[in-house]
């Protein structure tokens, strides 16, 4: 199975996302921001980084990249899409996911290994977890505070679209300690923490993040 990883100008964790895909047993495929071509992949990852230098607003410019004009309709038709950190910000800017990411409470960039709770283990990207399971994955972001209006938050809660929450402490002032959400269909997932940095205890705090990637492999193969 082939999983695309989009490189925007300023993407940084594309290499790490590709490694995680490989460790999960799939083939990573490089997708270039300027190409209107998804290269017939089975799923797409928007990696972390600072696309377009975070200029204007995180993700605000990347959503207009040529590749997005292919991705948005494909995602709406059910293509599994995972946005990590800046990728999550881009998915929100592209209105594939509800809400927005704002400056951290405290206004400083935060890199920290955090306990997360998997709230929804039925999405395309979290099926390999069990609901309520706690995992340790790093967070590294300056604008990671999830925000949405009260109506949207209530609707997300109701519909089970809150996928991941900060378990022990809320590091950045996210509404409802939300670390990740999905769309109504569950094929598009975005989260601020970096599961691709927790695929091997040698280079990460745990290997807990790997199952985001094995989730999708199992799903597509099944």
């Amino acid at each position: 199975m082939r999983i695309g990883v989009i490189t925007f100008p300023g993407s940084l964790d594309d290499r790490d996302a590709a490694r995680a895909v490989r460790l999960a047993g799939a083939e990573p495929v490089t997708l270039w921001h300027a190409d209107r071509d998804l290269r017939r992949v089975d799923a797409v990852i928007l990696p972390g980084g600072f696309s377009y230098g975070d200029y204007l607003r995180c993700g605000a410019i990347a959503r207009f990249a040529p590749v997005m004009s292919e991705l948005v309709p494909a995602a709406r038709s059910g293509l599994p899409v995972l946005g990590i950190c800046n990728g999550f910000q881009i998915l929100c800017e592209a209105h594939l996911l509800p809400g927005a990411l704002t400056r951290n409470a405290g206004l400083r960039f935060i890199t920290r290994d955090l306990s997360l709770r998997v709230e929804n283990a039925t999405t395309a990207w979290t099926r390999a977890y069990s609901a309520g399971e706690q995992i340790v994955v790093p967070l590294k972001s300056g604008e990671g505070a999830y925000a949405a209006d009260p109506g949207t938050l209530a609707r997300l809660e109701e519909a089970g679209q809150i996928v991941i929450r900060y378990a022990d402490s809320n590091p950045n002032g996210s509404a409802g300690a939300i670390a990740g959400v999905c769309n109504a269909e569950g094929n598009v997932v975005g989260l601020m923490p970096h599961p691709e940095h927790a695929v091997d205890a040698l280079t990460g705090p745990s290997a807990d993040g790997l199952r985001f990637f094995t989730s999708i492999v199992t799903r597509v193969l099944a």
Partner: protein
């Protein structure tokens, strides 16, 4: 160019002396143009020319130490070291002290940007950065301005650039109050054949400037900020009204990195140099001087962000994120296409000639016509040297007279105070703002002894890095202090299980025009040269930062030494953390010899505000044996943890290891407990031996000739020193982590 010898030229305002100006006139055989005067002023600045330090730095030639690992040494932008399996590594540390005081955020940010371009220009992919930071008293009002700005600048630039920050230093001392030290290190990896050269060779080859546009930022940064004592009257007339600190755009640098690596891979580059201090002036003169010898440049072809700039400002501008390449005419279109792919602006601004002259025109008019070597080489000074008047009194003021803790509770209180003092407190407030995970190859980062980055996923080959400096030791004895900094960095690399291979250095000193400072500098360089010879590690490059002084008060002489090591298999890395083991508790062995050495110690500084006496005696032969033992024991899988002993001695090392791994320990100390806990004797480490491996380790230790003694075991939830005190880890953690958040929010 008609010479007008009547009107005086503003050489002094540009930082040139009368005799330097006369030398320019003699070299050219005429009065220099305004553009030429600007060019010489930045090229002959202390920052660019090393005019006061050059006579000493010859001792650090990489050939001074026989090493098979060296591929390129001083003279290139940075040295290159062979780490095996076809890989080569280049690393360098550089100061950005003065800009970071004036504008902490941008000053520190562009310090990262500058050192990364240095590494890139060698042909390597930058893979990690480190920062060695020193500030005034932690509680001082100005430190609350400078430190958060410096940290946010490093965070802003390094994170956006996508380079993991894997370690460094943080220290505080009153001597850095008006002169913080911000030293940035970058390391890059390449294949053996990828080395690029900084030379403009081949007449007819095109000179291309690419990256950001050129603006008025940083005009005269090298000559005004970094080459005169603060508070001086140096001014650049009109230019002085503009910011002399550069403004960084890490997004452009990110694109520039990927663009350059694709240009290198395509074989499109004959020669390349980064633009740093002295901008276009430096890149053109150095490329020309190192190559065929001549170059013709159209300054009006330089893309500008401010159309009002003229030739002197274009030459002196330190706008960031720029590179200059020499390209064969037939490859120019391909070169420009790669730049376009990465949205990097590029302009052909000249060509290589064999005239031996660097000729620059401005809309057809010749504004510079010089032999490039005359600007690139610069003057050389043998400054007066004299041992500081107060040195004897300082050394006589021994720390042995200080009141010592007399019993268990007093020792306990001193340890808690020490690990809660700003210089030794938990640094997460700083390091949490840096991305240590990006690229996915970081195996060890702070608060470990050294940073460790995987180079090859298949074989586990990796590189370890550490930087260390101790201004207090160097103030007491710059020769020994420099060797102690070298020893500590070498030991920190060894404590990860790596073999130390090469050295870089950033020498932070006061004014070279002060003979006492020059004595410190001369002693420090001699110490480093002797130390490297004894350890068998060559110096592959470095940087000198003078004029770190306000008025007549200089910073402590602060040589910051970076050591690079190779790790054959990063899966066998050693952490400092004591971890709970299902196989049983591990035995703790103290390696090395402990003497009563408190001169310049963290204990004397943090508990008594005292600085005097002699620093600990370095023992380079013992360091070498200790490093050999640690690497061999790591490779054999005998150790569960290792931590070097330095600031705060065994007490602080045990506390850090307990907190890192979340597991306590119980030790029984030999001899006087105060000396055992707080002495800072060199060439020591504490190791946790894996259950069942003690006999093998003890044999290996004896074979390497390293003294060692079993002092206890890991385990439990307290740090226990038998017959003295017990501290629950929660109490230890509270003391360790409270300090910086309390100061900086």
């Amino acid at each position: 160019m008609t010479a007008d010898t009547v009107l005086p030229q503003p050489f002094a305002a540009l930082g040139l002396t009368g005799s330097e100006y006369d030398k320019i006139v003699a070299t050219l055989g005429r009065r220099p143009t305004g553009a030429e005067l600007a060019l010489y002023s930045v090229m002959w600045s202390e920052h660019c020319s090393y005019k006061s330090s050059k006579v000493y730095l010859r001792q650090l030639a990489p050939t001074a130490v026989q090493s098979a690992a060296l591929l390129a040494g001083i003279g290139h932008n940075a040295g290159v070291v062979d780490i095996g399996q076809g890989y080569a590594v280049t690393f360098k540390i550089e100061s950005h002290n003065h800009p970071s005081y004036v504008e902490p955020h941008q000053g520190a940010a562009t310090g990262v940007g500058g050192i990364v371009r240095d590494i890139l220009a060698m042909g390597a992919r930058p893979v990690a950065v480190m920062d060695a930071l020193r500030f005034g008293p932690a509680a001082a009002a100005d430190t609350a301005r400078v430190l958060p700005g410096v940290v946010s600048g490093i965070s802003f630039y390094g994170n956006c650039l996508g380079l993991p920050n894997i370690g460094g230093e943080l220290d505080f001392d009153a001597c850095y109050a008006g002169n913080p030290l911000v030293n940035a290190l970058c390391v890059g990896v390449m294949r053996h054949g990828d080395l690029q050269v900084a030379a403009a060779s081949g007449p007819g080859n095109q000179v291309i400037l690419f990256g950001s546009t050129t603006g008025p930022d940083g005009v005269g940064g090298a000559s005004v900020l970094a080459s005169a004592a603060f508070g001086g009257s140096a001014a650049l007339g009109e230019a002085a009204k503009r910011p002399s600190v550069q403004v960084g755009d890490p997004f452009m640098e990110r694109l520039l990195v990927e663009c350059c690596l694709e240009l290198f891979a395509g074989g499109l580059v004959v020669g390349i140099q980064d633009l740093g201090a002295a901008g276009v002036a430096c890149a053109t003169t150095e490329l020309a001087a190192a190559g065929t010898g001549g170059m013709r440049v159209r300054l009006d072809a330089v893309p500008l962000r401010d159309p009002s700039l003229g030739p002197p400002e274009i030459l002196m501008s330190e706008s960031q994120e720029r590179m200059m390449a020499v390209v064969e005419p037939a490859r120019v279109d391909e070169f420009l296409a790669v730049c376009a792919k990465w949205d990097v602006r590029a302009a052909v601004i000249g060509e290589v000639t064999d005239t031996g002259r660097l000729v620059m025109t401005w809309h057809g008019e010749v504004v510079v016509d010089i032999p490039p070597g005359s600007a690139a080489d610069g003057p050389v000074y043998q400054r007066p040297v004299s041992r500081p008047a107060g040195q004897d009194a300082l050394v006589a003021d021994s720390a042995s007279a200080l009141p010592r803790p007399v019993d268990g509770p007093a020792l306990r209180a001193d340890l808690l105070a020490l690990i809660g003092s700003p210089g030794l407190a938990d640094k997460s407030w700083v390091t949490d703002q840096y991305d240590r995970y990006v690229r996915g190859d970081t195996v060890l980062a702070m608060p470990e002894d050294g940073g460790l980055v995987r180079v090859d996923e298949a074989t586990g080959l990796g590189i370890a890095l550490a930087t260390d400096g101790n201004g207090r030791y160097a103030k007491l004895d710059p020769y020994l202090g420099t060797q102690l900094a070298l020893s500590e960095a070498y030991r920190n690399v060894a404590a990860t299980g790596a073999r130390p291979l090469a050295v870089t250095n950033c020498l932070n000193f006061g004014s070279p025009e002060d003979p006492a400072v020059m004595w410190q500098f001369a002693e420090a360089v001699r110490g480093l040269a002797d130390g490297c010879a004894a350890l068998g590690v060559p110096v592959t490059g470095g940087n000198v930062s003078f004029y770190n002084q306000t008025g007549t008060v200089a910073v402590h002489p602060t040589p910051v030494i970076g050591v690079l090591g190779v790790h054959d298999d990063v899966r066998r890395r050693l952490s400092i953390g004591f971890a709970a083991s299902s196989a049983g508790d591990t035995e703790l062995v103290l390696l090395g010899r402990t003497e009563a050495e408190f001169g310049g110690s963290a204990w004397a500084h943090a508990l008594h505000g005292h600085l005097g006496g002699r620093p600990p005696a370095p023992d380079l032969a013992a360091e070498r044996r200790l490093a050999g033992l640690l690497a061999a024991a790591a490779a054999a899988g005998l150790l569960a943890a290792a931590h070097d002993l330095s600031d705060g001695g065994l007490a602080v090392a045990l506390a850090e290891s307990c907190l890192r791994g979340g597991t306590g320990c119980r030790v029984r100390l030999p001899g006087d407990p105060f000396t055992a806990l707080f002495s800072e004797s060199a060439a020591r480490a504490v190791v946790a031996v894996r259950p069942g491996a003690f006999a093998d380790f003890d044999a290996l230790r004896a074979e390497h000739g390293v003294p060692g003694e079993t002092i206890g075991r890991t385990g439990g939830g307290d740090l226990v020193v038998e017959d003295c005190f017990a501290i629950p880890l929660a109490e230890l953690a509270a003391a360790h982590t409270a300090a910086l958040p309390a100061l900086f929010g």
